[in-house]
C-alpha cells in the first residue's frame, strides 16, 4: 500500500514559491526510502500551467473561480476533504502566510498532529523523523512523525529548490472541487510591493542591520561602510518596523529573499523568520555581541564585538585598501 505525501503548492502572482519546490524535494527524500508517492496539490483558476515544473508523481489540480486567490476558507475546504478521504501519510505545508492558515485549522478540525518549523525529514528504521528549528534557531528538536497521518509546516534551509523542479513533471489530474460555501474571509485586492528603490534581491553585497544598530542615527556609519564597499544596506524586521529603513529593504519571511555573494549581518541575532530568507547567500559574515546568537550557525565568519565599534574601523580599513589598489 503506497504511502502518499501531499504537498500544498503555494503560488503568488503567477509564480510558484520556492518553499513549494523545497517541500517537493523533502517529500521525494521520504518516498525514495519508503514505498510512496509524492502528490502535489495545486489550487487556482486557469493556472494549470503552474504544474509544469513540479517534481511530483502526481499533481492534483483544482480549478475554481473562488480559488483564483488564496483565501483560508476555500483552501481549508479543498485540502480538508482531500485529507479526510485519502488519509495520506503526511501533508506538507509551507511555514508561511498561506501554509499555516491551512495546516493549523485543519490540525484542530481533523484532530491530526502538526509539527512546525520543520527543516528536514528523514527515514530511520521505517519511521519518519522530523528535525525542527525552534527558539529563534537556538534549539533543534527531533522526533517521530505520528501515524497514520501527520501535518508538517516547513521552513527553508535543508533542501534546494532545484531538487523539487523537474523538466518531466508528474501526471496532472484535474480534480473535482467540493462545494465552496460563502466564507467569512473575503479577498479584496493585492497591495503591490513598493518599487523605485534598489532591488536588494539582485545585489551581490548586502550590509544588513538588526536590533544591534540601536538607533536610527547609527545608520549613518552603516551607509558609509556600504558606500566604501559598493554594497547596499538592508535590514531585519525590527529596524523596518521602527521606520528606520523602508519596507523595500526588509530581508525575511515577509520581506525579500536574497542571494548575495556576501551577506554582512550586523547586530542580527539570526531568528528563523530572518535567516530563512538568506540561506542562498554564498558567504555570510556576522557581527553580534552574543556568542550564542543563532546567526553564527549559518555564518562562515563572525566577530563578537559591538558593531558600533567595528563598523567605523572597518570602513577605514576598506578605504585604505581601496586606495592602495
Amino acid at each position: 500500500m503506497k504511502q502518499e505525501i501531499f504537498v500544498l503548492i503555494e503560488h503568488l502572482q503567477g509564480r510558484v514559491t520556492d518553499i513549494s519546490y523545497l517541500m517537493l524535494a523533502a517529500a521525494r527524500g521520504i518516498t525514495e526510502k519508503l514505498d510512496g508517492n509524492v502528490v502535489a496539490l495545486l489550487l487556482g483558476h486557469n493556472q494549470r500551467a503552474l504544474a509544469n515544473d513540479l517534481a511530483a508523481d502526481r499533481i492534483l489540480y483544482f480549478d475554481h473561480p473562488d480559488l483564483a486567490h488564496f483565501t483560508p476558507g476555500a483552501y481549508q475546504r479543498v485540502i480538508g476533504s482531500l485529507i479526510e478521504e485519502n488519509k495520506p501519510r503526511l501533508a506538507l505545508f509551507g511555514d508561511t502566510s498561506i501554509g499555516v492558515e491551512v495546516a493549523g485549522p485543519l490540525s484542530a478540525r481533523l484532530n491530526l498532529p502538526l509539527v512546525s518549523y520543520c527543516k528536514s525529514l528523514q527515514v530511520e528504521n521505517n519511521a519518519i523523523k522530523f528535525t525542527s528549528q525552534i527558539c529563534g534557531g537556538k534549539l533543534m528538536a527531533e522526533g517521530e512523525l505520528p501515524s497514520p497521518t501527520a501535518l508538517v509546516t516547513m521552513i527553508p534551509g535543508a533542501y534546494k529548490a532545484e531538487q523539487g523542479r523537474s523538466v518531466t513533471p508528474g501526471v496532472v489530474v484535474q480534480a473535482s472541487v467540493p462545494q465552496l460555501d460563502k466564507h467569512p474571509v473575503r479577498f479584496l485586492q493585492y497591495i503591490e510591493p513598493e518599487t523605485g528603490d534598489v532591488d536588494i534581491t539582485k545585489e551581490a553585497l548586502l550590509i544588513s542591520v538588526g536590533r544591534g544598530i540601536q538607533s536610527q542615527d547609527n545608520l549613518e556609519i552603516i551607509q558609509e561602510l556600504a558606500d566604501a564597499l559598493g554594497g547596499v544596506v538592508c535590514a531585519s524586521r525590527p529596524v523596518v518596523d521602527q521606520g528606520w529603513l523602508p519596507a523595500t529593504r526588509l530581508v525575511g519571511k515577509s520581506g525579500k529573499r536574497v542571494k548575495p555573494k556576501v551577506y554582512l549581518a550586523l547586530g542580527i541575532s539570526g531568528a528563523t523568520e530572518h535567516v530563512e530568507a538568506i540561506t542562498d547567500s554564498e558567504v555570510i559574515i556576522a557581527v553580534n555581541t552574543d556568542p550564542l546568537a543563532p546567526i553564527f550557525n549559518l555564518a562562515k565568519y563572525g566577530a563578537t564585538v559591538d558593531l558600533l565599534d567595528l563598523v567605523p574601523a572597518l570602513t577605514e580599513a576598506v578605504k585604505q585598501a581601496t586606495v592602495k589598489a
Binding site: L12, Q13, P72, S132, E194, L229, A247, K256, A313
Partner: protein, 254 residues
C-alpha cells in the same frame, strides 16, 4: 465590542537555554520566561483599535513566571480587563492544550475580535491563533499588519513574502494573528505599571481540565552542532577589520 488579546509567556532567548537531563525538553529549573514579542504587537494593535473607538480590551494569559507583570503592564497600556488563567502545573504546554484551555474562557467574554501574535519561537505544534480560532469556531487570518474595524467586519492587510500584501475583509467575530502592529509596541513607564498593580483588579479563571495534550513527542532537543558554527575572528576592532578586508579581497569584492 470586546477585543480579546491572548498573550503567551515563552522561553527568554537572551538567557542561555539549558536542556534537561533526559535531553528531550528544556530544563524547567533554569527556564526564564518573557512575553512573546508578537503578542506585544497584538496587544498594541488592540489598544490602537480601542483608541479609535472599537471597544474594550481584555487581556488573558496562562499562569506562569512573570504573568502578573505582563498583565499589569497590559493594564497600564490601556487594557480594560486582565485575566490570569490558573490551575496549570506546567509553565509550558503545547498550543493545542493552551488553545483548548483558552477557548471556553474567551467564548464566555463574547469576543468581537480575538488578537494574538502570529507565532512564537517555541510553537513546535503550530502557532496558537489558528488552533484557538478552530476551537472557537471562528475564522482566522494571520500575518496581519493593519486592521480597520468596519460595520460588523474587520478589514485587514495580510502580508505575503517579498513585500506583497493582500487586503481582506472578515466578518466578525474573528481571530487575527498579528505580524506587526501599526506602530511599534508603546513604551510604558514603570511608575504606571506600579500604579496599575495598586489599582487594577487582576481576575482569575480556572482552566477547564488539567489534561495536557502533547501530540508531538520530542525525542531529542539539542543545540545545533558546534562544528557548523562560524570561524570567529578574534582581536581588537582594527585586527578584525584587517582580517575582514583580507576576506573581502579573497572574495573579489575589493
Amino acid at each position: 465590542m470586546n477585543l480579546i488579546v491572548a498573550i503567551k509567556l515563552v522561553p527568554d532567548l537572551v538567557e542561555e537555554l539549558k536542556i534537561n537531563e533526559e535531553g528531550n525538553f528544556l530544563d524547567l529549573e533554569s527556564l526564564r520566561l518573557r512575553v512573546n514579542e508578537f503578542d506585544e504587537h497584538a496587544l498594541e494593535q488592540a489598544i490602537l483599535l480601542k483608541e479609535r473607538g472599537a471597544g474594550r480590551v481584555i487581556v488573558i494569559a496562562l499562569d506562569g513566571e512573570g504573568v502578573e507583570d505582563a498583565l499589569f503592564t497590559a493594564a497600564a497600556k490601556g487594557a480594560d480587563q486582565v485575566i490570569k488563567l490558573t490551575g496549570n502545573t506546567m509553565p509550558l504546554v503545547s498550543n493545542h492544550t493552551l488553545a483548548r484551555w483558552l477557548a471556553p474562557v474567551i467564548k464566555s467574554l463574547q469576543p468581537s475580535l480575538v488578537l494574538t501574535g502570529v507565532q512564537a519561537h517555541n510553537d513546535l505544534d503550530g502557532p496558537l491563533g489558528p488552533l484557538l480560532a478552530e476551537y472557537l469556531d471562528l475564522p482566522y487570518v494571520g500575518y496581519v499588519a493593519k486592521a480597520t474595524m468596519k460595520d460588523g467586519e474587520v478589514e485587514i492587510r495580510k502580508e505575503y513574502p517579498g513585500g506583497l500584501a493582500a487586503e481582506m475583509e472578515i466578518d466578525l467575530p474573528a481571530v487575527l494573528g498579528i505580524q506587526a502592529a501599526e506602530q511599534p509596541p508603546r513604551y510604558i513607564a514603570f511608575s504606571r505599571i506600579r500604579q496599575a498593580m495598586k489599582t487594577v483588579q487582576l481576575e482569575e479563571r480556572q482552566i477547564p481540565d488539567p489534561f495536557i495534550e502533547e501530540p508531538i513527542a520530542i525525542a531529542r532537543l539539542f543545540q545545533p552542532e558546534i562544528g557548523e558554527r562560524a570561524e570567529i575572528i578574534s582581536g581588537d576592532v582594527d585586527e578584525i577589520a584587517a582580517r575582514l578586508v583580507d576576506i573581502f579581497t579573497d572574495l573579489d569584492l575589493l
